[in-house]
Assembly symmetry: C2
Homo-oligomer: 175 residues x 2
DNA sequence: TTTAAAAGTTGCTTTTTGCAACTAAATATG
DNA sequence: CATATTTAGTTGCAAAAAGCAACTTTTAAA
């Protein structure tokens, strides 16, 4: 993301975007999930500039999302493979896909569909669930500071609750 | 995303990133979910340059993710609110948060935690499920062309299956 | 009525991208 | 074995995007 203050936001979204939020990175990961491993594969399928691809792959390797392994024993050519950390990004790709399918490609239909290999059936839509499996909407959620919250974050969240309560109050007055 | 060929990728991920993949956009959306509505709120919490914020808010409004409504009847000052299309991005934010919590902030712990408002209990981890509720991993998934697939996409997916089968074959030979 | 805050806009500088050409090693070919 | 081709980058330069600070113009407050 931007250079300066992002790190100070005390936010896992910002931290994640710091690693995968740059131009191209998520599409490179998509390619990786689609089975690409070699520099040329990524380059050709995406049409990305080679120097940018180099930079992105390096960053992904440095941060442990991909690993760079010799094609065979002792070879100096490498391929890029998803690590467990990288494979754990799959839900992000699926959520992005489903949202795009729903809101941007509704008329034409989805370009690609994720299915379960064994059954061929489409996977379930990803949604937010409570521990006991009820579906939750934005309205049903609240935010609380976690163990990693700074004082600033706690203050911010307190303020958020206040604002929210005021809005609820003014809403009930009106109606 | 990049200017040229992204649109031709026939991929909902690329389409989605075209709208929300730019620097700052996702953090602006995070702020919106956290309750910010006014220009100054976004600006102050994020420390984003004002001209960039202007551009991002405009794009988000143009694409229907936010709407710009007068603060009160007839006022010329506006606030920016999530539309249903925008609220539907919540799973993306949660997935990004959880991934960052798990892989980047494990030692310090999560800065913020999403809980169910009514019970105060943490929400469930978002994961990929089959229609009948079994958890699926990357290995369990396959991709098939959907109704919106171009010939190129179909070809690409055929090739993918081939490559995958070859790798499976060479793997079983080795072991 | 003056002051201050909100919501931008403008101009200029620094960073990032994109593109094309170049390089060096590995592999294939005759 | 010598030469060509592929692979995986690197370099240099032009164009686009981002950051910063200063400037406007309404709106709200004192």
């Amino acid at each position: 993301m931007a250079r300066n203050n992002i790190d100070s936001l005390n936010c896992s979204i910002a931290d994640t975007l710091n690693l995968i939020g740059e131009w191209w990175t998520i599409l490179i990961l998509r390619e990786a999930f689609f089975g690409s491993r070699r520099f040329e594969e990524f380059q050709q399928y995406l049409g990305i500039a080679r120097n940018i691809l180099t930079a992105r792959l390096k960053k992904l390797c440095d941060s442990g999302i991909l690993e760079r392994v010799p094609v065979k024993e002792g070879a100096r050519r490498h391929e890029y493979r998803l690590t467990p950390m990288g494979r754990d990004l799959l839900p992000i790709l699926i959520v992005l896909t489903h949202w795009g399918d729903r809101w941007l490609n509704e008329s034409e239909g989805a370009p690609v569909i994720f299915v379960e290999r064994d059954t061929g059936k489409e996977i379930a839509d990803i949604c937010v669930l409570s521990q006991d499996g009820r579906e939750l909407k934005a309205r049903d959620l609240a935010l609380i500071p976690g163990p990693g919250a700074t004082e600033e974050t706690k203050e911010r969240l307190r303020l958020m609750v206040e604002t929210w309560q005021q809005r609820q109050a003014s809403r009930s007055k009106k109606s």
